[in-house]
Point group: C2
Chain length 133, copies 2
């Protein structure tokens, strides 16, 4: 079972209702941008401030507990950190899906060209999802 309070504690963040709601929203929706988070939290906390969203999201990103995903031609979205994975972005409906593929096969191609030491690999595929086809 997913428990956002425990998660927050593990990362040394005080458990507040606003933080729990942020984590729960992200758990439920997978990926959200700042404004989607704000709009959704407004329903539960009519007086929540955008500054609170920013402060918390930034704090969680710093604790490496949220991950920012930069989307081509669109706003960044945030997700809970899980195993490394890639993203599929549908150009038609905008939906973002996670996909687990092995990107390390690319590393050998890099080594054959450059002496660069790869630490992280971010892959975003844009195209058309099955629903929209």
């Amino acid at each position: 079972m997913f428990n956002s309070s425990i998660l927050l504690k593990e990362y040394n963040l005080k458990v507040t209702p606003q933080r729990v709601a942020i984590v729960d929203e992200l758990y439920k929706n997978g990926h959200m941008n700042i404004d989607e988070l704000y709009q959704n939290l407004l329903k539960k906390f009519p007086s929540i401030s955008l500054a609170t969203i920013y402060k918390n999201v930034n704090a969680m990103v710093e604790k490496i507990f949220l991950n920012e995903v930069k989307i081509p031609e669109s706003k960044s979205v945030y997700e809970l950190v899980k195993e490394e994975h890639s993203h599929l972005v549908c150009k038609s409906c905008g939906k973002i899906e996670d996909i687990n593929i092995d990107t390390s096969i690319l590393n050998s191609s890099i080594l054959s060209i450059s002496n660069f030491k790869v630490e992280d690999t971010k892959v975003v595929f844009s195209g058309v999802c099955s629903n929209c086809q």
Copy 2:
């Protein structure tokens, strides 16, 4: 030989000294963010406006003649459009390099999982460049 005026004409953009300079800077430096472009152009055009940079970069991106590259934990950079390629970002010195690797080998992995139709693939590797190692 590289000729920025011809390039601009091909994309139906009037050839102005500011535009030529933007294209020349990007050709020379490979990747630049908005502020680097502005600072460099100020040397040639002390009264150039940031608005001019934005208007032109946006126009060139729309004509698909510049490409915006979103860099993890950093600002977007722009580059002249060339064959599809990936990017290496050095976490130490910040340098960004192009690298030509075949990313289509990933597509078969996607097909085996999802029915998503891939149209574009953006890959950014972060790590340590050979100089910084």
